[in-house]
């Protein structure tokens, strides 16, 4: 018995963004990472090809993190006082990109001067040849002073800089444009705001094709479904030709997954929920793979077991796809 054709007739694709630049392109990265390009609902070959597997960036902080749970301490504890060593560890663990967070510049977290941030970014770029994502500290006045310097110091490397928002976008957009970087456009789980940020940024002359959408992230069990549905709605809009929603998506999976009780509570919950050593990575892995079904292109992650599981799952899901 023949069954009905169920392929949807999409009229557009998710756009592609390339992060990083090789020496031939004016940078010093060993290779670049291209994300996006989806032509259908995630991982359905019959619906539309997915040319690039979702990429994974591993989190590196500029200084020793506070309150990271034991499973992460076991992996990074010996290197996390030094961002350069930490970035090397991230590469060893198979990162596609390094995700560097400038936390120490925050007035409450050290209030480091721009020069120190620049020094760290340069050192990481020198030590590790992967494409780089750099986030400010989310304290606008400080980020406005630091991020232009960071953008300048990394000129030519085509980093992904984060993040512009509806209220704070001018300085970072201008800096990304001046020094040839790509941009993360953040919105709080709201499609209209996501579009609005894209409009504001492109009104300044920044190309839509260099934007990655960050629709915020929520952990499994803690409102993940809101993000899941925002991703689905965004992807449906992109595939139906909405150019302001056609940008690839970055999700901050590791940060969100590792702050919830299921990924932190240790001995006290071991009987009810099983050992944290397995439960934590599982929480991160499933947060990632669930959200990938909604439609995401770049995941920031932390634990190597979770990363391995996501890679394997993606490998299976992309059989017959990709390059």
């Amino acid at each position: 018995m023949s069954i009905p054709e169920v392929k949807e007739k999409w009229s557009a694709r998710v756009s592609e963004v390339t992060i990083g630049a090789t020496p031939a392109q004016g940078g010093t990265r060993a290779r670049t990472v291209t994300i996006g390009g989806a032509g259908g609902i995630p991982f359905l070959s019959f619906d539309g090809a997915l040319p690039h597997p979702p990429a994974i960036a591993i989190d590196v902080l500029d200084k020793q993190p506070v309150g990271w749970p034991k499973p992460l301490e076991e992996v990074y504890g010996d290197v996390w006082a030094d961002p350069v060593q930490w970035a090397r560890r991230a590469k060893e663990l198979g990162a596609d990109l390094i995700n560097l967070r400038l936390t120490g510049i925050h007035p409450d977290e050290g209030d480091w001067p721009p020069s120190k941030a620049v020094e760290i970014v340069k050192a990481v770029l020198e030590a590790v040849d992967l494409p780089l994502i750099v986030w400010g500290c989310d304290f606008p006045e400080k980020d406005q002073r630091v991020m232009p310097k960071v953008a300048e110091a990394a000129q030519g490397e085509r980093c992904l800089l984060g993040a512009v928002s509806q209220t704070e976008y001018r300085t970072l957009t201008a800096a990304a444009q001046a020094y040839g970087h790509t941009l993360i456009a953040a919105s709080p789980c709201d499609i209209n705001i996501a579009k609005q940020v894209n409009i504001l940024v492109t009104d300044m002359g920044f190309p839509l094709s260099d934007i990655v959408i960050y629709p915020s992230t929520a952990a499994l069990g803690y409102g993940m479904e809101y993000i899941y549905s925002i991703l689905e709605r965004g992807r449906l809009a992109a595939l139906s030709g909405d150019k302001l929603m056609a940008q690839p998506v970055i999700l901050d999976v590791g940060f969100e997954a590792w702050r919830v009780k299921e990924a932190r509570a240790d001995e006290e919950m071991a009987d009810a929920w099983g050992p944290l050593a397995y439960r934590g990575p599982a929480w991160e892995a499933v947060t990632a793979t669930d959200l990938l079904q909604g439609g995401a292109d770049l995941l920031i992650m932390r634990h190597p077991e979770a990363i391995r599981a996501v890679r394997e799952a993606v490998g299976q899901l992309m059989q017959g796809d990709g390059k």
């Binding site: 018995m1 069990g221 549905s229 299921e262 397995y278 017959g320």
Partner: protein, 445 residues
């Protein structure tokens, strides 16, 4: 798919005899389309028209019942491809598998473990609903005896899985009245199994090698009068299963009857963590039942959390009752924490307070089920709503002090709250995860 008034009208006698109490057949049809009157109010409708209308009114995905009485579980009747368009109605059932080839001690241990697979998460009890009994031995007697034992020990309805219709009959009879789901793995035996399912009044799951073969098979079974069907597309592994589940859902919602049944999926990955990923993916993507070998608590918890998330009604904020809650043996000197009535926020706070072992009051302010930042941004969590909740809660009669702990994310509210309420504000951590150590180490009355 719901019928329109005009589609119903076509099947009515069109005599406008008014016996139904409506002035015209068309008026009756319109009322029926609006589900305000049922077809039996028209005494003149022909049996053929009745059959046609009933079959057309069947939902695109058949509603199937597994288990009986207090243990009755329903799957199917889904209407959407994407949860935001309405919602997903019937949470995926999880079935943990046991094999009749296991040694008696391993078997008992496994059944005991399945019996204990319930969890408390954010104030809700969640767990595994089904035990899947696999006739791996091919032996009828062993299968029958495990079926009895599995249902008794786990206290859950069974999925009885065999390649042989005869074996299914024997086990189904042993569980007579309990309405297990019969699963026939050999497509050649599917029709024989359908006869068993009909006779024993059980739903039947069938497998085929392709969707085309499956559609053919369900059509044959439906023709025998059995409509309580569950379908296994036969694909295994993440990619094949995801694609098959999606094709089935899409075809069913296009009203393609032969695939208009709830689907069953199996996890088969080589490592436990990948099976967890597999199960979660199938839960998110249209499986009505997931059969898995996973049994450890850390493995099932993320799958259950995925299910809670994906099957949440997207239109409705999930809220707890806004009121004063207590954790532990509170007294006049116990701390008072203020939070919203968004259930995830509230239960995160409650969980952390419990973990701290510091008895405390939690005041849940009515923020219409929104989280701290959202409620603050929309002005539902401000000095006056907090003060109002505080005064109305009766907390002032219960504690001797006047100090409240405000979420760190809304530290900006503290001056306003102090002015309006006369309470002293202490700034708590920004994240719930910091509450336990805050109460243990930092908080001082």
């Amino acid at each position: 798919m719901a019928l329109t008034g005009l589609e119903i009208y076509k099947h009515l006698p069109k005599t406008n005899c008014k016996d139904c109490g409506f002035p015209t057949c068309l008026a009756f049809a319109m009322k029926m389309a609006a589900k305000q009157v049922s077809l039996d109010k028209c005494p003149h409708v022909t049996p053929e028209a009745k059959a046609a209308l009933e079959s057309a009114a069947r939902p695109p995905i058949q509603l199937v019942t597994i288990g009986a009485d207090a243990q009755e579980l329903k799957i199917g009747n889904e209407t959407q491809l994407y949860r935001h368009e309405e919602k997903f109605y019937r949470p995926t059932l999880l079935a943990v598998r046991v094999w009749d080839t296991l040694e008696p001690t391993a078997l008992s241990a496994r059944l005991e473990a399945i019996a204990g697979l319930t969890f408390e998460r954010v104030g809700t009890k969640v767990g595994v609903e089904l035990v899947a009994v696999d006739n791996a031995s091919g032996d009828a007697a062993r299968f029958e005896s495990l079926a009895r034992q599995a249902v008794e020990v786990t206290g859950r309805p069974a999925v009885l899985m065999s390649a042989k219709a005869d074996n299914l009959q024997r086990a189904a009879r042993a569980l007579s009245g309990k309405r297990p789901l019969l699963y026939i793995s050999d497509p050649q035996q599917a029709l024989a199994a359908a006869a068993v399912a009909k006779a024993e009044n059980c739903p039947l799951a069938v497998r085929a090698e392709s969707l085309e073969a499956l559609a053919e098979l369900t059509s044959k079974i439906a023709a025998t009068g059995l409509e309580q069907i569950v379908i296994d597309p036969g694909a295994r592994g993440l990619k094949g299963t995801l694609e098959a589940l999606t094709r089935i859902r899409r075809a069913a919602l296009k009203n393609f009857r032969p695939l208009g049944y709830p689907a069953i999926a199996f996890t088969t990955a080589a490592t436990p963590l990948l099976q967890v990923v597999e199960a979660s993916t199938y839960v998110a993507k249209y499986a009505a039942i997931v059969v898995t070998d996973l049994i450890e608590r850390w493995q099932l918890l993320p799958v259950l959390a995925t299910r809670q998330d994906i099957f949440t009604d997207p239109q409705k904020p999930v809220a707890v009752q806004p009121k004063l809650y207590t954790v532990g043996e509170v007294g006049a000197e116990s701390p008072v924490l203020v939070t919203t009535n968004f259930s995830l926020t509230y239960y995160s706070v409650e969980g952390e307070v419990e973990a701290s072992r510091v008895p405390a009051y939690i005041l849940s302010v009515d923020t219409e089920g929104t989280s701290v930042l959202t409620a603050w941004a929309s002005d539902k969590f401000n000095a006056s709503t907090i003060t109002k909740a505080l005064k109305a809660s009766g907390i002032e009669e219960r504690v001797a002090h006047r100090k409240l702990i405000l979420p760190g994310l809304v530290a900006v509210l503290s001056a306003g709250v102090e002015d309006e309420s006369g309470w002293l504000v202490q700034i708590g951590p920004k994240e719930a995860s910091g509450i336990s150590s805050y109460l243990k180490n930092q908080w001082k009355n």
